[in-house]
Symmetry: C2
Subunit: 434 residues, 2 copies
């Protein structure tokens, strides 16, 4: 029998990689004062329709359960966050800084970087509208990637904003509605891929041109990236806020080299209300590594108006980051070293004489109680084969129970050095467990 298409088995090597990614995610999110939470994998289908409309249902693993409920395996975490925050918001001091690591599902054609089941880190700040919160989230996404030994040569965070486009359009046409706005963002998204005559035609209702958009994108980027820009004329506007974000809040953290401003990033602009960002590998070989932004209206919308709170967040999947780590030798090496620690034991008890097995078992129990990872042969085996197994399992030491009893022969594999130690002194002679 086969596994389902788009699903993965994590054999021990793969699971160690997954655990390494989770451990880095968890560690860095905590450094930022984020606390972990989690929701169910199954939710009422309605929860997803509420956010994204009924078209999302095409990509859901959804069904009617045995209690006649319409249910769906979660495709994303934000609706659950809104549900949980709406139910519990009074129990917590704001802002909430929450992260979650879990599994998500979507019924899609599988391709590189995109599977039907994947793991995702979600980080959200709820209840804070300041630019400082935007900065905290952008800094976090950068440090999450740096912690994998990735550098500014490997990835870039591209910042954009829905509000800036609104300001741009406000100068062009008097009023525009959501559908028009979506249409406009679709044009911008394809501006470098679609035939120019076609784009020009589509842009007519918006009283602008390809050249004007390109010029504006470039000049706005220059304005925003320059720390010396005089922003007094933009005080209080969205452009002013992004400049403040970049230079007052991110500048002191020295993460400028990881950032770019690119207003052709429009994915999800219909959904977000403020800044948006996407993280890409510099070589642009892979899909987006992470993406997020500010969604100030979503909690109100998803809670049916029950709770209204500003919020922002991002998600990072395990698949693309795994691909990028494998592309970057420095990052791959760090991962390799860390995963070996997960997979390898520390001590192998070699039972050279079968009548020493009870003594070996007693000693193994003591070693494990002290926190060492210990393995031993479950059936009689030749000593040579036992040493071979010890090395295959990555053991640092072999402890031999044989003729030397009541002494033990301790062999350190890295130096091939052998020492005789009284059996009741073994713990004192070993380095502390890792």
């Amino acid at each position: 029998m086969q596994k389902l298409p788009g699903f993965r088995d994590f054999l021990p090597d793969d699971c160690a990689v997954r655990n390494y990614i989770f451990a880095r995610w968890r560690e860095v999110a905590r450094r930022y004062g984020f606390v972990e939470w989690e929701g169910p994998i199954l939710e009422p289908t309605e929860l997803y329709k509420k956010k994204s409309g009924s078209e999302i249902v095409d990509q859901l693993f959804n069904f009617t359960d045995k209690g006649e409920r319409e249910v769906a395996m979660r495709p994303e975490l934000t609706p659950t966050l809104a549900r949980v925050v709406a139910a519990h918001e009074r129990e917590f001091k704001k802002p909430l800084k929450w992260f979650s690591i879990g599994r998500f599902f979507r019924f899609e054609k599988q391709q590189r970087g995109r599977l039907r089941e994947h793991f995702q880190l979600n980080c959200d700040i709820v209840g804070e509208s300041s630019v400082a919160a935007d900065a905290e989230l952008v800094a976090l996404v950068v440090d999450l990637l740096r912690d994998f030994a990735l550098t500014e040569e490997d990835f870039v965070v591209r910042l954009s904003s829905r509000d800036v486009w609104l300001a741009f359009l406000a100068n062009k046409i008097k009023a525009f509605n959501e559908p028009e706005l979506r249409r406009f963002f679709e044009i911008v998204d394809k501006i470098d891929r679609q035939e120019e005559t076609k784009t020009a035609e589509l842009l007519q209702p918006f009283s602008t041109s390809i050249d004007e958009i390109r010029d504006w994108v470039k000049s706005t980027r220059d304005f925003l990236l320059n720390p010396k820009t005089d922003r007094s004329q933009f005080e209080g506007t969205t452009l002013g806020k992004i400049h403040e974000l970049l230079h007052d809040h991110l500048g002191p953290r020295h993460i400028g080299p990881y950032l770019d401003v690119d207003f052709t990033v429009v994915r999800g602009l219909a959904y977000y209300t403020g800044i948006v960002f996407e993280v890409f590998d510099r070589k642009k070989k892979l899909r987006a590594i992470a993406g997020g932004g500010r969604y100030d209206n979503l909690i109100r919308q998803l809670s049916g108006g029950g709770v209204s709170m500003p919020a922002l967040g991002f998600a990072m999947g395990d698949v693309v980051i795994g691909d990028l780590i494998n592309e970057v030798p420095r990052a791959r090496l760090q991962m390799h070293n860390e995963t070996q620690k997960d997979l390898w034991i520390q001590i192998y008890a070699v039972i050279a004489k079968e009548e020493r097995r009870p003594d070996a078992l007693a000693q193994i129990q003591l070693l494990r109680d002290a926190g060492y990872r210990v393995d031993y042969p479950l059936r009689p085996e030749k000593v040579g084969k036992q040493f071979q197994t010890a090395e295959q399992l990555g053991a640092t030491f072999a402890v031999v129970f044989g003729d030397e009893w009541p002494q033990l022969k301790v062999k350190k594999f890295s130096t091939r050095q052998e020492t005789l130690i009284p059996h009741d002194q073994l713990l004192n002679h070993l380095p502390r467990p890792e």
Copy 2:
């Protein structure tokens, strides 16, 4: 909108408890030389029918996916293990010692200790038929619980065996088939709950009586638990093997006080082929904490005859162990202390003067890079309120950016002691991050 019945939201406190349980599970399984693996949450429904017959489908979250596949959210891990082992067995040295921590689903009425979605630790040894492997698994389940600061006063592992019953019955009736055997196990299971006349009647075809069964259960227990029993007459039999398991393999590990022999444990005997064990709290207030045993035929059966390997394993859910920890003050205290480490930050940066914010941000970045958990106010706030937040977040230190600049005032909350430190010397004055 509500969550689905039988599903849980893990708010940060709950998630810290869950992480604590996972961390202990992972740590102890690794001490035993087990490596972690994981499978998909969705599998072909057929995989579960193959093992347990079509009746299992009643308790599945199963459905037809958009690719017309019959799929099910996994109710247990063993069928996936068999699928994975059958596909990859040549890649690994035997025995495999594998563990997995994941989510499982069953459509059942929710009640204490039993939900529709729960987490489970699974530990399995594949490719080893020796009694030593049985012992390794029983010792592991004991140490998993001891690691939660639970003792022999809190829980007991009850050992049983299908083979011993087969031997008992072989003396009573000439031949018996699987359905008869199941019927017999059902009678034994209810022997203390069903009316005696009814039980006596049901036992007639098996040529035995209630008293005979009770006597046999008691005398066999006495025989097995006594280390001095002369087992020579049972050499090679199942009883002999269990005596060897208890005294040669578990005796040296000093875990006798955690064990009992109880052949009225018959749950799942139809499924297992050798020893079976269930772990219960001593007060018998809760459901089984863990259960498992040897299932030598299952991999062959599930792989359609492709691969045949002896195997044994057990599962432990997160719900009942959580309940038991909460019942035992010693265990609850250990959990409390550990979960605080997950939830609390180490340093709070108090921004006493707003113009020091950029300096604070630079310092916060350095502290986080060094591995500290640091938080700070995202908007201007009164100093008193910032100190209050620092204490609520569990901070060990507050670092004040204010009039003292370029010095920092560092306050240690436990001693209320305040020190002035040059801002570029801060890292040298703090204890290492936890």
